[in-house]
Structure formats: C-alpha cells, structure tokens
C-alpha cells in the first residue's frame, strides 16, 4: 500500500478564527497517479491546496512531499515560490493569468522561473542569458503546442476564450517543470467540448509528461473518467477514499453529496 507516495498529508488542521476549514485531513497520493479531491462547496478543497502550496499555514499536522522516491521535504512553512521550485505547480479556482501579458509571455514566465539569469546578465547580454533566452523560447512554444494554443501565443491572455485561458494556466504551471500538478476546478465554466479537450489534456499531462495530478473538480463525469482514485472531503474531513466506483457507492458520500452526484451522474455515467 505504501509503495511510493509523492505527497502525504497527515492530520492537517486549519482554522480561520472560529471557522474550521480543515479538521484533521490525511491523504496520500501515489507517484504517477491522478487523484481527485471532491466535496461540496466549502468542504475545504481549496484550503487543502493552499496548505500544500505554502499560501496557508496549518496550525497542526504534517505535509510531506517526495520529489524523488529517496528525497523527503516538509511543505509546511515553505514560501509559495519555494514550493513551486521543488516541484509542485498549481492553477487557481478562478484563473489568475497575467492578464495584460501575451499568452506566450505568461508561459515563458513559468519556464524562466527555473533559470538563473540575473539583472546584470540581462543588461549586459551575457552568453548565458542569450542561451537561456533561446531555451525558454523553445520550451514555451512546445508547451503552447502541448495545450493546443500554439497559434494564440501573441494574443493578450485576457482576450482568450475562457477555455483557452484555463489551458494557458495549465501550460504556465507545466513550464515550471512540476512533478505534481494541482488543478483547482479546471473545468469550471467551460463548455462541453472544452471539457472534453481538458479531459484529454489532463491524461496527456499525466501519461506523456509523467506528472502526478491532484485534481479538484465538481464535474463528476470528468472526475470519474480521469481519476485513478478519489478522496471525498466534507466539513474539512475526509469522509471516503477509493476508486471512483467505490466512492460512488459509498453511502456516506451519497449522503454528503446527495442531489449533486446523483443528478449529474445519471446524465454522465449512464
């Protein structure tokens, strides 16, 4: 069972004053797997992401990340950009692109965060700067291509259709060469064909790039089709965990989630 966990969350508690956001959450994600976190609104899903990425600091608990099987780091108390640096990238529930910049620049900023050119190199056009510049251009084009936005590189991010914005955010995250990618409701607000493309994209990120994916999603059809395993949160606690099929049949989940799961499922899963 404890084969090779890329991330383990142990008994994490997070409070905001009187509001308990996470009340002892534990979960483990295997390397290479697509794990989905579902749960009703306010269950604590986004809070969990924010704890993983250093935005929130839980009052209690441990979060261990293993960039490689031999290597162990604690994520708690680490600054967001340092979390990113060791291999965890994320997208946001409402996409947060650099709106006034082009799609190309958005992705390039992610790619460049891995490089080392400083202000002096940039001002003097030192050889390393020029080399890194070329490398990041190439990588950026590859990534835009990967998410299907190659031809939209010169467009301003905020002018892109919604679905493209979400994929652009994924490309920017991939630019930072993550081992683990956190996606917060990537399908929210997209149309059915965009959802389908997204589903394929998530699979390709996982299979072709070998990136483990932790996915928050309300769209059950998407979850059931891409997730290897599902963890269900409710009121800041894990109420169920297992394969999509197991979770669906779990009475506690049905109870917590009720209306929503059943209606959407009957349409999708058939």
């Amino acid at each position: 069972m404890v084969a090779d966990a890329i991330v383990s969350v142990e008994d994490v508690h997070l409070r905001f004053g009187g509001v308990v956001s996470l009340a002892g959450v534990s979960l483990t994600q295997e390397r290479g797997e697509i794990l989905s976190v579902i749960g009703p609104n306010g269950a604590g899903k986004t809070s969990l992401f924010n704890c993983l990425t250093g935005v929130y600091h839980p009052q209690m608990g441990r979060i261990i990340f293993r960039p490689t099987p031999e290597h162990e780091v604690s994520l708690i108390g680490r600054k967001p950009h340092r979390v990113n640096r060791i291999g965890i990238a994320r997208t946001f529930q409402t996409s947060r692109l650099f709106n006034a910049l082009t799609a190309f620049e958005n992705v390039k900023i992610g790619v460049e965060s891995r490089q080392r050119t400083g202000p002096i190199g940039a001002m003097l056009h030192l050889p390393r700067t020029m080399r890194e510049e070329k490398e990041s251009d190439t990588r950026t084009v590859e990534l835009l291509d990967f998410v299907g936005l190659r031809r939209r590189g010169d467009e301003i991010a905020s002018g892109l259709p919604y679905g493209d914005q979400r994929r652009l955010e994924i490309a920017r995250a991939l630019g930072t060469e993550p081992k683990l990618l956190l996606l917060d409701e990537p399908a929210a607000g997209t149309n059915p064909s965009e959802k389908l493309a997204l589903e394929q994209l998530i699979r390709r990120v996982n299979r072709e790039l070998g990136v483990s994916v932790l996915l928050i999603e309300h769209d059950m059809r998407l979850v059931m089709s891409v997730a290897d395993r599902v963890t269900v949160l409710n009121f800041g606690q894990v109420i169920a965990s297992g394969t999509p099929g197991e979770v669906q049949r779990n009475p506690a989940v049905v109870e917590a989630y009720l209306g929503r799961v059943e209606t959407e499922e009957s349409g999708g899963e058939g």
């Binding site: 986004t46 950009h81 990113n84 947060r96 650099f98 910049l101 900023i109 965060s113 301003i156």
Partner: protein, 449 residues
C-alpha cells in the same frame, strides 16, 4: 464592451458622469490659470495670490475659457465613437511602425544624432539647463521608472540614494573632512557610489518589502529625511549644512592623453549623454528579459507570480536596488559636475518631482520617462520669464500638482505609455482583472464560491 453596448441606459449615464468629471477638470484648470496669472502672495498675506485672483473679474474670463474648452472636448468625445475606426487605423499603423525594428532603430539613430548636434547651437544658459536640469533628471527618472513603473513600488525617498552617490563622490575624491586611504578619480568612484547605493537599497528594501503595500512609501519617506538630517548635522563627517566644495571633475589620464571635464557644460553634456544612452540600452534589455517579465508578473498578480516560481521579495528588492543605484550614479555625476554637495539639495520635494516626471511621462515606459523628464524640466525654464505665462519659482509645485491631476483625469497612462501599462489600464476600465484584483487583495488565493 458588449455589455455596455447592450445596456444603452448605463452607457448614457456613464457618459454623463464623464462629462461632469471633465467639466470639473476644466473649471479647476481655469481657476488655476487665473491664480497663476494673478498677483503673488507675500509672507504677510500668504493667501493674497488666491483671494486677489479668485475675486478678480479676470477669473470670469478664465472660467468662460474653461467652459468653452469643456464644450469642445465633450464634442470631441461625442464624435470619437464615430471616428473610432479611423483612429484605430492610425493607432495600428503606429504600432506597426514601432513594431518594425528598422523603423525603430532608425528613429533612435535620428534622435541620437539630434541629441549630439542640437546642443552645439544653444547658448550657455540652455546648455546648462540641458545638463543640470534635463540630463541629470532624465537619468533619475529612468531609474525611478524601474522601481515605480516596472515593479509598481512607491519610493518617496528616492533622492536619498542620490545623496549617497553625491557624498560617495565627495568622500572618495577626498573632499570630505574624513579622508579615504587613497583618493580616486570620479570615474573610479562610479562602481563604489553604485555599490553604496545598492547596499543602502538592499538594507532598506529587504525588511520593508516583506511587508505589504504602503509600508515602503512610508519607510522610504523617513529614510529620505534621515539621510538629509544626518548630512546636515554630522558636520564632522559631511561638512554640515553649508555643504562641501571642491569635489574634482571627471578626468581621463591615459599615458600621454589627459583630459579634464571643467566648468563648461558641453563636455559634461556629452559625458552625460553617453551614460544615459548606456543606461537606456541596459534598462531596455532588462525590460525584455527574464527579470523584466518577472517584475511584470508581480505587478499583475503577486499570488500567481509566486505560484509560478517567481520569488516576489527577491525581484522587488532587485528593482528597488537598481533604482537606487541609478539615483546614486546621478548624484555622483551631479556632485562632480558642480563640484559641490549640500544637504539642502536632497529634499522630499525632489523625490516627489522625479515621481511626477515618471508619472507624467508614462509609468513603466522608458521613452516616457525620458520625455517626461525632458519636457517637465524644460518647460519651467522656458516659461519662467515668459511675458504672459511667467510664474514665481516657489509656485512651481502648485502647477506641477495641477498638471498631474489633469493628467490623471485625461490620460492616466502618461504621455508615452508603455504597451503593457496601456493594456493594464484598458483592462481595468473594462472591468477585467479589477474584480480579481479586489478579491485577491482581501484574501489571496482563496476565491471561494
């Protein structure tokens, strides 16, 4: 845009509120002109300038002028929608021309040739203005532009670094009461002055930039005051309030070749021009580099930048220190040029003035900073003794303030905005990003619902 077009009612009410705003601006402008051309206040009745002008029948004339201008500008706005497509064509042409490298480089070359040739035709008064007022302030504005424009940080103590540069020059050349181990030619002081300013910038920046928002403005304001008070009171080291004279000029000694910059302005102008060009090229490269993009990302969305691996603190400190170093460099140049440095030169007003130059020119835009500094530093010199528009030196900041207010109403992006900045403002006007920015500022990355 479509939202507005659908809703005709809100469109017309929006227009009406803009009309009112514009009316207010013109009335204000007219009143300022009335005061400007009226009598001056004195120490015994400091408000005489206002009461004497505003109660004068002349004010009616100016108000009428303001109203006519308002009517004209309103008419222009009304017709703008119709000619919008035409102006868009012009805009696109401009973008295309500017986007074409050959055209751009050709323009730079022409400007450079003009900058080299024109000063030879000027009299010594304007040559001095060109160095002391314009050249030095172009350098200062370009440096502050990195802090304010690229990184979006408000630095109100910018002139303190100028002081550090100037006193570094005085120290290393042996002009201060305290002496270094060996005396240096100002050329060799350049790296030392820059280093001193960078170190001061980092020491000030690291603790302050950790905090959010306006702390930097307050701390830098205090820092500026501290530096000027220390320079005034630590007379055993700095020479005190009356300042220090005898800072040597720049000079070159290469085996048999000796040259010394002296009191005449033209040689200093060319030296300064050389430095300005180098700094401009360097900052242009910086803007289009990894560092420049990281700064743009931070300005746009700090949370997203951090999540994308951009170390926000590091880049802010970097931008702050780069600005500081430019300011220190300018201080060194100026101190050596006039051979003199005194604490009275480093007032908060001067920091504000440079901020006005950058804002007027267009935040985040290199040509904007140059143009803003050149225009705003030239205009007062030109107008000061003008028969009609002449004004009192001590009133200068009233007019600069008024100008800034008018600019913010009509053209908040400055006279030569950067492309990125223009987009940011356009987006904010359309409501894209503003909603995000607001939810982001109150609770970052949460976005519940």
């Amino acid at each position: 845009m479509s939202r507005i077009a659908i809703n005709g009612v809100s469109m017309s009410s929006l227009r009406r509120s803009q009309d009112v705003r514009r009316l207010g601006a013109w009335v204000l402008g007219a009143l300022i002109l009335a005061v400007m051309t009226g009598p001056s206040g004195t120490t015994t009745s400091p408000t005489a300038g206002f009461t004497g002008s505003l109660l004068h029948p002349r004010v009616l004339g100016y108000l009428a002028f303001g109203l006519v201008m308002w009517a004209l500008s309103t008419a222009r706005v009304r017709s703008r929608d119709r000619v919008h497509s035409a102006t868009r064509g012009v805009q696109q042409l401009r973008e295309k021309l500017l986007g074409d490298n050959r055209v751009r480089h050709g323009t730079y070359l022409v400007l450079l040739v003009l900058a080299i040739l024109v000063p030879t035709q000027l009299n010594s008064f304007w040559q001095e203005v060109l160095v002391d007022q314009i050249g030095v302030f172009v350098l200062l504005a370009v440096g502050l532009n990195v802090v304010v424009g690229y990184a979006g940080l408000l630095d109100l103590g910018y002139i303190a670094f100028y002081a550090i540069g100037a006193y570094s020059a005085a120290y290393w050349t042996g002009a201060l009461p305290v002496h270094p181990v060996f005396h240096l030619n100002p050329f060799y002081v350049i790296p030392l002055a820059i280093l001193a300013a960078v170190v001061a910038g980092v020491i000030l920046g690291v603790p302050t930039l950790r905090l959010r928002g306006d702390y930097l403005a307050i701390v830098t304001l205090g820092f500026g005051e501290i530096i000027s008070i220390v320079a005034t009171n630590l007379s055993s080291v700095t020479g005190g309030a009356q300042g220090i004279i005898g800072i040597p000029h720049f000079s070159v000694h290469l085996s048999s070749f000796h040259y010394q910059w002296g009191l005449s302005n033209l040689p200093y102008y060319y030296l300064l021009l050389g430095f300005v060009v180098i700094v401009l090229v360097a900052f242009r490269s910086l803007e289009n580099s990894r560092v420049g993009r990281a700064l743009a990302a931070i300005r746009e969305d700090e949370v997203a930048a951090e999540a994308s691996g951009v170390g926000v603190l590091k880049y802010k400190v970097m931008a702050f220190a780069i600005g500081a170093s430019t300011s220190g460099f300018a201080g060194l140049l100026f101190a050596s040029k006039i051979s003199f440095v005194a604490p009275g030169d480093f007032t908060v007003q001067l920091s504000i003035l440079i901020l006005v130059l950058v804002t007027f020119g267009g935040m985040g835009s290199l040509p904007g900073a140059v143009l803003g500094a050149a225009v705003l530093q030239w205009a007062p010199e030109y107008l000061r003794n003008h028969p009609i528009l002449g004004f009192q030196q001590q009133d200068l900041y009233i007019y600069l303030g008024a100008l800034l207010v008018v600019m913010m109403i009509f053209r908040p992006s400055g006279i030569w905005p950067s492309r990125r900045r223009r987009r940011e403002l356009a987006l904010a006007e359309e409501g894209v990003g503003t909603a995000d920015a607001m939810s982001g500022s109150s609770d970052p990355a949460a976005g519940p619902g």
